[in-house]
Each structure stands twice: as C-alpha cells, then as structure tokens.
Symmetry: C2
Subunit: 121 residues, 2 copies
C-alpha cells in the first residue's frame, strides 16, 4: 500500500524535522507574523528566518503574502493532513502488532511467576 517516494511527504516531514520550524508553525497557529517578527522571536537573522519560512512554504505548511514591504506568514493549506494520514495508517497497523507482542510478553511473565521468582528485575 502506498508506493514509497511521494516527494511531498518527504518535504513535509523534512520541514517538520527542525525545532525552529516547528516553533514557527506553533506561533503561526496562534497569530499571523512577519519575517521580522519571527526572526526576532527565534533569535535569528532575517535571511535565516526567510529560509526556514521558504522550507515551510515549499512543503505547503505555510503560505505567505507580501503587502508593501512586509511579508505576512500564515499556517498554510492542509498539507499536515497528508502527514497525519501517513502516521495514522502505520501507527494503527503497528499498534496491532504491538498488542499481539504485549500478550505474548504478558503470558511469559505470568509463566515466570508460576515457575518461581529466581530472576527478578
């Protein structure tokens, strides 16, 4: 299911793999901000922040609009849906496998208790 590549997912995950960028997303979730706002908040040069915003834009997680000399950044589109969908699918699938494993382990532990408790901890 789902052929591997899908470069959009790549871009989304890569964009999320940076603390500063996740911070920017959190902030934009609360309030629209300019590049200057963000750069100040995260203690970084304008140029540096512009790059981060660029990465988020490319991933479709943020949209920006330039009004006069100010570029306003907002949480963008629903690209996060794709990411969430991927995670959810495998998360659920794997949890089923984990549940099975849990049962096996539980049984083993119960057997151990019955057998006598020489090797605890």
């Amino acid at each position: 299911m789902v052929q591997y590549p899908t470069t959009r997912l790549d871009a989304s995950f890569a964009a999320l793999a940076d603390g500063t960028r996740r911070g920017v997303l959190e902030r934009l979730g609360r309030t629209e901000s300019s590049i200057t706002d963000l750069a100040e908040t995260f203690g970084m040069t304008l140029t540096g922040m512009r790059k981060h915003v660029g990465v988020l834009e490319e991933a479709g997680l943020v949209t920006t609009e330039k009004v006069g000399r100010v570029r306003y950044c907002r949480i963008g589109a629903r690209r996060l849906d794709e990411v969430a969908a991927w995670i959810d699918t495998y998360h659920q699938l794997w949890n089923e496998r984990f549940d099975e494993l849990d049962k096996v382990i539980e049984e083993l532990q119960q057997k151990e208790q019955l057998d006598g408790c020489t090797n605890e901890q």
Copy 2:
C-alpha cells in the same frame, strides 16, 4: 505550549523524511527482515541500507538484534506515538482556524453571488 527543540522529535521526523526509510518501516510493519533482505528489496548496497536502518534505530522507530551473522530488524517501540501526538495537537488546533476561515470565505462567496456573477470560474 511545548518548548521548541525536543531533539527526539527532530530525529523521528528526519527519519521519516526519506521515502526509502518510510518504505522500510512499511515493510517491517508486515514482516521482520534482515539487512540483506532490505538492501535487496530497495536496490541498495548493504552498507547503504545499514545506514538507513541506523537512522531509524536512532530515532527509536526500529529495533535490531544480531543473531549469528544476521541482523534482524523490527518495528521498534512506540516512538511514532510522539510524532502522532505532535501532529494531532497542531492539526486539530489549526483546523479550528481553518474552519473559521472557511466560514469567512463562504460568506464572501455568497455575497458575491448576490452582487451579481461577473467573475465566475
């Protein structure tokens, strides 16, 4: 909420930002595999695949065990929970904002229709 860095999240997202690695996770979700298995499946050298598995291991998404000369790889721990949790939180938060936006847009469109339909498409 949630201070930005959290390098474990960084590692998890970074690990997921690669199609091959997501492919490996999918496969391991179905069946335990050796490095050789994985390398063949994804058309890559052993060394190359070992690196990918290493990245997934570091992120806690995969665990491995060496038995004799074979290293077996399995879906590891529930680190994906952390990722899913992060996504879910913001996903939900943002969707609320999107819903508001949707209403505004809808109202605008209805007004447009009332005003006369010069600019359809």
